[in-house]
Amino acid sequence: MSDDLVVEFLVESNENLDLLDRELVQLEKKPGNRDTLASIFRTIHTIKGTCGFLGFTKLEAVAHVGENLLSRLRDGQLSLTPQITTALLQMVDAIRQMLRSIESGGNEGQRNDATLIQTLTSLQSGDVRSPVKSAQPLQQSETSAEAGGNGHGPGSTDGDLSERNTPEIAKCVEPPRPECPAETRPESKEEAGQDQAESSQAQQAGRSSVGEASIRVDVVLLDKLMNLVGELVLARNQILQFTNTIEDGALLAPSQRLNLITTELQEGVMKTRMQPIGNIWSKFPRTVRDVAAACGKQIRIEMEGKETELDKTIIEAIKDPLTHIVRNSADHGIETPDKRMAAGKPPEGRLLLRAYHEGGQVNIEISDDGSGLDSEKIRKKALEKGLITLEQAAQLGEREAVNLIFLPGFSTAEKVTNVSGRGVGMDVVKTNIEKIGGTVDVHSREGVGTTVKMKIPLTLAIIPALIVTSGGDRYAIPQISLLELVRLEGEDARKGIEQLQGAPVHRLRGRLLPLVYLNRELRVENGSPDATHAAAVNIVVLHADDRQFGLVVDEINDTEEIVVKPLGKQLKGIRTFAGSTIMGDGRVALILDVLGLAQSSNVVSEARTRALKEKEAELTTDRGEKQTLLLFSAADDGHMAVPLDRVGRLEEFPVSSLERAGDSLVVQYRGEILPLVFLSDALEERRKRPRHLRPANESASDRLQGIVYVHEGKRVGLIIEKILDIVDEMIQVKSPPSRFGVLYSSVVQGRVTELLDIRAILNNPSTKPGRQPRATVEA
């Protein structure tokens, strides 16, 4: 027998086995589905037939008993029980193992499958349904089998099964004609991508046509083609640049043609490498079923957008991270049925996989409706393990705390189960996703569920990029992160950039856009004029991790298709760069890693989710009053705001600078004695958390954040928990004051926020400026 034949058999059977996994789990959900059963039967039958022909007798024996069991199921003589499903899945595993040893050693290996065979055989003689009950399903089986053109009628329930199968086996044992592999392969592919409920007739029709129209290609060859196309794109870019410098009509026309052809070729080659994400998702129902069975849980898995396509290398790269997250959700996220019932949820947990295109990227979301992540627990754990400092822990917002799970060395699972918590942590997930230029983020609400969201580039090799210049060198910014370009000239260049406590910002359509100077970030200022004094300012508006920021560069050049080349290991540690590329003139340019840049310049840290705000702004009509508010958090984590025009300054006071004057606390401030008011004291009545958990004034941190007010001609420092943001907001929803010191509550950026009545607080005798707070602050 030829090796080619065996290889073909292995590839085909592996695909078939994946299909089986999927279908068996599907069948368990809908035991009555005749179409699925018929399809499973066909698949196992194909495997059995082929391995019989190739002389793999052990394999054939296992497949044979499985097939017998299946035929009884199909004919309605048996009904599906969990035991049967488990046994059938075990059979699939056994076959898979044998295939593996055939692949490595050329034979089925030293296995003893007697127990499995016995189990499968004994299950066959299980509960035989009464003939009356089987009458209905029988009818269905008849139609589907006939429609499928499988060549054997439904027969009577008492017929000899092996005999009935004989004609088909004979058909398969026939020496394979050249078109034989081509005929079987697309079957599995097509079925994988299609809804199983679709009529088998349509499959049959599609099968032959697809079979003739497609061929199998070695991935290595595709990789090579991709590399060559990459080189071609570079050469094209160089030629185009050259053409632009000389006026030669004879050169112009062919170079334009070259341009078009290269682009089309590139698209074509890239398309050959695209695969639907469903290819990796298809393994998850089985994974989830196993986890659920092991933990005594009920989990339903749902998929949306499984036809979304990604480059093969990316599919490979996200396979393990995805599997890990799915396992995690099933194992740790979703609770056991009784816990769920107790929480008022349906006993069956839901795991949703979603994939969709957005802005040249693919978003993948894995959500569960489980218990969610406990941000306090995570914070504590991270502290315990020494991953963050006490100060950091105190400063972290909810979202940041939850994202601590991505730190290396972090695992909250109290007990390590055999399902997850085996070393492949979320940090590995994050590293792997970031390695391919993607991002991963987790959102969680306690008791409601967890969503892990990934953004993945479509392809890695060739990307469109914006070329900018800073400090005399060119840098490429992946177009994927680009939102818009802003150029400020003349008067605007000077006035357009404002300083917010030393942080440069630009008002973009009324919203503050934090600015990052590329020169400064890269420390390549070398005498180039400071942007604040330059005649024009170029701002590249980028987004990273849902945040927007403006990157100030010296020059904006052009957009270009660039070929991404990795950096050598000596440079891998620099997060600001994602790689390098060769420009049209043959010089090397670095590709900026927008996320890395945002992180190193502190753009990405807890602030507001701008997208959310934008959405709200769209909804807001002209009614309501527009105000610029200073947002901050109070001791109980609630959001509060004061109008910015009333704020004198924002200050930080080291705890050590606090002094006592009589029974009040003061600080020396600009040559004056500044009395302090602790907001947590002024509003004490509603604080529910015990002091020791989150002490007033955050004694965990050695700095206090304060707002300096001018009240009745004197400066007063109002000490608050944490300054969050400055926002322009239409105040629409108002509710009556919730407590003393509050004017009204409103919704600001999607959160209920209390608008403080500063006058009332500062006039209240019990919180008179300078009065010592009840919480002890070590001065």
Binding site: L522, Q570, V588, A589
Partner: protein
Amino acid sequence: MGATKQLCTFSVGEGFFGIPVERVQEVVRPQPITPVPLAPKVIRGLINLRGQILTAIDLRYRLGLGEPGDAKLLMNVVVRTDDSPVSFLVDEIGEVLDVDEDSFEAPPDTLQGEMRNLIGGAYKLEGRLLLALSTERTVSPANELRNKNRD
């Protein structure tokens, strides 16, 4: 007469160095270099060698022989590593020499500094010493070097 070995030789400052020829991919004239901001000072930047992007290491600075030289004048010795090839920037390229293994001697303990880590030993040639440079150690900067200039 012991076994002989072929070394590609070059000079950096006063030093005369050699790398086994099989480690050397090629020798290239000065190339335009794209500097990499934030990178350690030993890394001068990236060069484009016929579509392949190489990291260029300033050997003078790497060996602790002084400040980096003028990149426009420095020759490239392209060295194969287990990662992608790396270019060593050197002052001058010498001949390929056949050296006698018997003439090899480990460096004296009095040799100190970064040079100590990077030099495997010396071949005692007539009139001068040829220092055997370890390419692997030269391309994997020690931790302190990697962190140097980060802030």
